[in-house]
Structure formats: structure tokens, C-alpha cells
């Protein structure tokens, strides 16, 4: 009926073929009206939260990256990946607050009150990730863990205690909780787990997790060296146990210590706010900005105060570089961060000032222009420094990650296999909050945009 009415009103329209609209020049008004009438899409709400992500990179065969398809690919024709040279996203169930990389294994922990608080992946030949029951044989455990698996902890109040920090050494690991002390697991052949050394103990598939509670106050930081452990308490004292042949326990002798003992020397009475170690040398920072060192000094780490190659009592390092905020120890080199945001390195190896600087006993500053400082961005500052065995990492206040040092099996994460003699950016899709450095792999905690 409508059609008939229209027919009477207008002449018959010319039959068209093909295009519905004539090819006349488009006038502005209908276009603008069409634009206004277009639907508006919303991709993110006003209060959209930034997600927390974990990125890993480095050597994959040990399973320390936590992605099983790198070691055992999904399809038969794919080949296992030896090195992950750029950051790769690791999916985790919870927000990871602390991560630590050991020698071929990784521990991730979250501040949740759920039962599962710590996940481990990588090498487990010394039960450094606890006992991971094998699914094929209920009496045996796994030697290599390829994806983040929960670490069972014997907590008294599992739904109230929170795990604050984890730390990993060569074959042992330490887990710090807020109310139940420190849990240690792994190799104890030098007493690094804080319990008595048992002769001929087999550490693989062991269920032993030792709990350490008697310190003078609550432990607030745990640090693992290669075969020794350091504990820092709230009062500012430092305890140590483990192998001491290089003096890294700082107790005045070169023997093994199997019970955490308080350190004296230049540290006695000083309020220590940060301890760091990864190899056989240790550094501690006091609240007044002084730095103390002990342990191995074969690579000139402590050569500014002494000629001996092993120092077994903490010694004050009188550097005139300003108040020190943070220190990090590597295998052969050390790095400190001052209050102004300057980075100083010393020791042996690729220190970050070009290929000509191989060793120095006195700290040398790395120019801030290498970290992105320029007239255009004058307020970029380095916020944290971290050390792996032969490489260094620095985080700026803008959330950028700079790495330099020896690129062992792709641990630097820059996408190139060569060593970097000065700080080089790592492209991570997000703002890097924290990073943990290992021997040949790294883990970073990142906030998305």
C-alpha cells in the first residue's frame, strides 16, 4: 500500500545498477551528521586498573623460565628453544610480589593469604624448590620443574601468614614470612640452610624444610650468596651461616657455620638497612649511607681498604661518593646507588664504562646520560640497582630497565647475543617495577600501561 502511495507522489525512479548512491561530490553536512551518529566504543573504563605481569628471559633448558613449551614443545615437529633472548610473558595466577633467581632455578612469591604462596621452577636436584611429587611415581620427586609449581611450606597458620620475600643461592633457597621466621630448603653441605650438617645426606627428593626463628628481632631481609645465607633483622643486625672459606660469613674465621650467628666487626652497633650478596662477596648499607664489605676480594672488590684477597670481618669502605642508598654484589663486580641517583661500579669484568674499563678498586660513576638523562628529560633518575653473576641491571624512576655486562646465554634480554659494555635498554611492554637477576636468566615484575 505504501508503494502505491509513493508511486502516485513521485515520478518513477530511474532504474540504477551497481552503486546505491550517486557519485556526486560529498557535501560536508551529511558526512558530519553521519560522524556524529556513529557509535562510540569503549575499550577501557575510567577506573581501569593496571595489571601486574611477570616477564622472563634467558636460558630455557633448565626450566627456570617456567614455560614448558620451551623445553618440551607442544607439537612433535617443533624444536626446543635454547635461549629466550627477549622478554616473554609468564602467566601467573596471583600477583607476584617478590622473585628471586638462583643458579638454574627461580622462586616466585605472592603476599596472598591463600594456601599456595610460593611457586618454584627450574632445577630441583637438591630440593631447592621443596619436594615436588612426581605424578608417575608417588614416591619420587621431579628433578626439573618446567612450570611454576607450588612449594609446600609447613606453616602453622597458612591462611594468616604472608610471605614477604624469597631469595635463591646456588643450590639452596630462603623464604621470609612475616610471623613465622625464615624457611630454608635445599643443599646444606656447608650449613647454608642454618641446620647442622649431616654427613652423606642426599639432598635430592628431600622433604626437609628447616625453620629459623631465633634471632634478636624480626627478620626483614634474607639474602643468599653462592653457598652462604645472610639475614638482616629489624634492629639493624646481620646474621650469617654457611660456607666461609672466603670469609663471606664475616664471623672472623674461615670455617663452615651451620647456625645463624651475629656479625661483628665494623658493623657492630650500626643500623644496617640493606644487605646484598650473590657470589662470595657481601655488601651492607647503613642508614647513614655508609657501605661495609666482607668476603672474597680476589677481584679488587675490597681492595680500597685491604690487600688481602679474603676478608672475614666486615670492614667499612670509605668511599667519598655521597650517601649510599642501595648496593648490589655480583660475582666479580659491585654496584652502588647514591641518594642523588648516580650509579657507581667497581670490581672486575664488564663494568659498564666501555671495553677499556676491566677492573678498578675505586668506584667509577656511570654517566647518567646513558640511562636516558638529557636536557629534554632532566628528571630521569636511577631508582634501583641489581646484580647477577656477571651482569648488572638498573631501574629508572620512569620504569625503564637498563642492563649491561656479560651476556651469558641471553640473560641480558636485549635480543642480541653479544656482551654490552655500557647500559642498554631492554624493551618491556610495561613499567618495570622490580627485576631479579640470576646467572643466565632474569625475571621482572612489570605493571601494564
Amino acid at each position: 500500500a505504501l508503494r502505491g502511495a509513493l508511486r502516485g507522489a513521485r515520478p518513477l525512479p530511474v532504474p540504477r545498477r551497481g552503486l546505491a548512491k550517486p557519485a556526486a561530490p560529498q557535501s560536508v553536512r551529511p558526512l558530519r551528521e553521519a560522524e556524529e551518529a556513529a557509535p562510540v566504543f569503549q575499550y577501557a573504563g575510567k577506573a581501569a586498573k593496571r595489571k601486574d605481569r611477570v616477564f622472563v628471559w634467558g636460558f630455557c633448558y633448565s626450566g627456570a623460565l617456567g614455560i614448558p613449551s620451551f623445553v618440551k614443545p607442544d607439537a612433535g615437529w617443533k624444536r626446543p628453544r635454547r635461549i629466550q633472548a627477549t622478554p616473554y610473558r609468564l602467566e601467573t595466577e596471583e600477583k607476584i610480589s617478590s622473585a628471586a633467581c638462583g643458579y638454574g632455578f627461580t622462586l616466585l612469591s605472592s603476599r596472598t593469604t591463600d594456601i599456595t604462596k610460593v611457586w618454584g621452577m627450574g632445577l630441583n636436584k637438591d630440593s631447592q624448590l621443596g619436594f615436588q611429587r612426581s605424578r608417575r611415581d608417588r614416591t619420587k620427586g621431579y628433578e626439573y620443574i618446567l612450570e611454576p609449581s607450588p612449594v609446600p611450606l609447613p606453616l602453622e597458620k597458612p591462611q594468616q601468614t604472608r610471605v614477604l620475600q624469597v631469595s635463591c643461592g646456588r643450590a639452596h633457597s630462603l623464604i621470609l614470612t612475616d610471623s613465622e621466621g625464615v624457611f630454608t630448603m635445599g643443599n646444606n653441605s656447608y650449613g647454608q640452610c642454618g641446620r647442622k650438617v649431616v654427613e652423606d645426606e642426599t639432598y635430592s627428593e628431600s622433604h626437609v624444610i628447616h625453620q629459623l626463628k631465633d634471632f634478636d628481632s624480626r627478620v626483614v631481609q634474607v639474602v643468599c650468596g653462592q653457598d652462604h645465607s645472610l639475614f638482616r633483622t629489624q634492629k639493624g643486625t646481620v646474621y650469617a651461616c654457611g660456607w666461609g672459606a672466603d670469609g663471606q660469613t664475616g664471623l672472623g674465621h674461615y670455617n663452615i657455620t651451620s647456625v645463624p650467628t651475629k656479625l661483628r666487626g665494623d658493623i657492630a652497633g650500626v643500623n644496617i638497612v640493606q644487605v646484598s650478596s650473590y657470589g662470595d662477596c657481601c655488601l651492607a648499607v647503613s642508614d647513614e649511607g655508609d657501605v661495609f664489605g666482607w668476603g672474597n676480594s680476589e677481584y679488587l672488590q675490597l681492595a680500597s681498604v685491604t690487600e688481602t684477597t679474603q676478608v672475614n670481618v666486615p670492614k667499612h669502605l670509605p668511599f667519598k661518593i655521597g650517601k649510599i642508598k642501595e648496593a648490589a654484589c655480583g660475582g666479580t663486580g659491585n654496584v652502588v646507588l647514591t641518594e642523588e641517583g648516580n650509579v657507581f661500579v667497581w670490581g672486575y669484568g664488564i663494568l659498564g664504562k666501555g671495553p677499556n674499563l676491566i677492573e678498578t678498586a675505586v668506584p667509577e660513576m656511570i654517566p647518567p646520560s646513558l640511562f636516558g638523562w638529557s636536557d629534554f628529560n632532566p628528571d630521569i633518575r636511577v631508582a634501583h640497582v641489581r646484580c647477577g653473576l656477571s651482569h648488572f641491571a638498573a631501574l629508572t624512576n620512569r620504569g625503564e630497565l637498563f642492563v649491561w655486562g656479560k651476556n651469558l646465554r641471553g640473560c641480558l634480554g636485549t635480543g642480541r647475543m653479544e656482551d654490552h659494555y655500557f647500559p642498554w635498554r631492554v624493551t618491556v611492554p610495561g613499567e618495570v617495577v622490580d627485576v631479579a637477576c640470576g646467572v643466565d636468566h632474569m625475571v621482572s615484575m612489570v605493571k601494564s600501561f
Binding site: 560522524e35 562510540v40 581501569a48 646513558l370 620504569g399 611492554p429
Partner: protein
């Protein structure tokens, strides 16, 4: 010979060729007769953009090639608008999508700009073809002088947010080997990264190597005296830059 409207009529719609007196015909004028001028153009500036455009006149064309080989950076002021996405990344194109933008803050924009700067800085070092293991590479990197001296994809050396008033924002971009369409694409990608969309409203070149806005002549200033004084004042700068780089 000039084409002038026919004299004597009010509504002149025809143009009549007439001989106009020219200074060069005067018997007392000496010197070579310029019939043509060889003018060469510097780095391209497309139709929708504006700003500093370098021209070389006759002997200056050789300097233009030298300046091109110096690979100096250029500075642009880029204006953008959140909420729209078009097919050619500018606000005169066909609309593709409209999105909300109320979740965008200046902090998020600065974060995205920091990431862009970081990745481009890495590209700068990689395309410069210098062996990173040498001490000279380290010295140049400290001073910030590493840049690609050959062909390379567009690289942004610095980005800064000048103004942010949603939905509009303005950026200052210093870049190398770029085209204006690449800058518009960058604005579009910034919009995508912030989970919204953006179009580019304005591209204005504020600096081309050593030539800044102060040296540039406006359309109303295109006469002989101004051009001569501009060439005179820029000569020293150009010489110094060429000697420094080559």
C-alpha cells in the same frame, strides 16, 4: 609579459596579455640577466603540514646535498585529538571508529611517550652501524652523538608532551628520516596504546637541522632584501654544521 585583467571594465572576467615595464630592460641596468633561478628543495613537507621548508638557490643546491648527508634531526609540533580514528590518520579523513577517552590522564600519556622514546633510542643505536664493543662507541653514547649516518627507517630521538587538555594534546617530536605521514601514524598508535584512538590535527615543522622558525620567512616577507639577509645570516651556521659532521 603579464596577464592582467582588461582595463576599463568593472567586472573583468578576461585576462589580456600586456607588456609591463621591467627593470631589466632599463638601459642603465648592468649585470647578468636572470631568466631562470635554479631552486632546490630540502626535506619534504607535505600538503597538510606547515612550517620550516629549506630551499637552495643555484649554488646553494650543492650545500643541500651536503646537509642531507649530515643526517640532522628535525623538530615538529604535532597536535592530536583523542576519540576518533580515521583512515589516513588525520582529522580530514574518513571516520573509522569513535572511542571514549575519559580514562586518559597526562601520566599515562607520559608513560607511553617514555616507551616510544626508549624503543626509538635503541633503534638509533642499532641503525648507526657502529660496533658497540669499541671505546669510541661508548664515548659517543655518553655524549649522545650516536645517530645513523646512512639510510634508516624513521627514528624519533625525543618526544615531549607540551599541552594536554583532553581531547586535545600537543607533542614536540624530534626525529630523523621521517615523513609527516609517519608522524600522523605515531599519533594514531599512541591513541591505540592508550586503549582509545587519536587523529592528528596539526603537523608543524619548527626546526629543520640548523634552520629554526626565527630564520624562516613568512609568505608576506618573500622579497629580495629579506631573502638576502636570511641567506647571509644562515651561511655561517650551515658552514659550521657541515664542517663538524663531514
Amino acid at each position: 609579459v603579464r596577464f592582467l585583467p582588461a582595463p576599463g571594465r568593472d567586472c573583468a572576467t578576461e585576462l589580456v596579455p600586456t607588456m609591463v615595464p621591467v627593470l631589466a630592460e632599463h638601459p642603465l641596468v648592468r649585470g647578468p640577466r636572470f631568466r631562470r633561478l635554479k631552486i632546490g628543495a630540502g626535506h619534504r613537507l607535505d600538503v597538510k603540514a606547515s612550517g620550516v621548508f629549506v630551499l637552495g638557490i643555484s649554488h646553494g643546491n650543492k650545500l643541500l646535498t651536503d646537509l642531507y648527508n649530515c643526517h640532522l634531526s628535525r623538530a615538529y609540533t604535532v597536535g592530536g585529538l583523542f576519540g576518533k580514528a580515521t583512515d589516513d590518520f588525520s582529522d580530514t579523513g574518513k571516520l573509522v571508529e569513535k572511542t571514549t577517552f575519559d580514562h586518559i590522564t597526562r601520566e599515562k600519556l607520559e608513560r607511553v611517550l617514555a616507551v616510544i622514546q626508549g624503543t626509538n633510542h635503541k633503534a638509533l643505536l642499532m641503525h648507526s652501524n657502529i660496533d658497540m664493543k669499541t671505546q669510541e662507541a661508548y664515548e659517543l653514547a655518553v655524549r649522545g652523538l650516536i645517530r645513523p649516518m646512512g639510510k634508516s627507517p624513521p627514528i624519533i630521538t625525543a618526544v615531549r608532551c607540551l599541552q594536554f587538555a583532553p581531547p586535545e594534546f600537543q607533542l614536540e617530536i624530534h626525529c630523523l628520516h621521517e615523513t609527516q605521514q609517519y608522524l600522523r601514524k605515531i599519533v594514531h598508535e599512541i591513541g591505540l596504546e592508550l586503549k582509545s584512538s587519536a587523529v592528528c590535527t596539526q603537523v608543524r615543522r619548527t626546526r629543520d637541522g640548523v634552520f629554526t622558525l626565527d630564520d624562516a620567512l613568512l609568505r608576506s616577507q618573500w622579497n629580495l632584501q629579506n631573502i638576502r639577509s636570511a641567506i647571509w645570516s644562515c651561511q655561517l651556521k650551515v658552514q659550521a654544521e657541515i664542517e663538524r659532521t663531514l
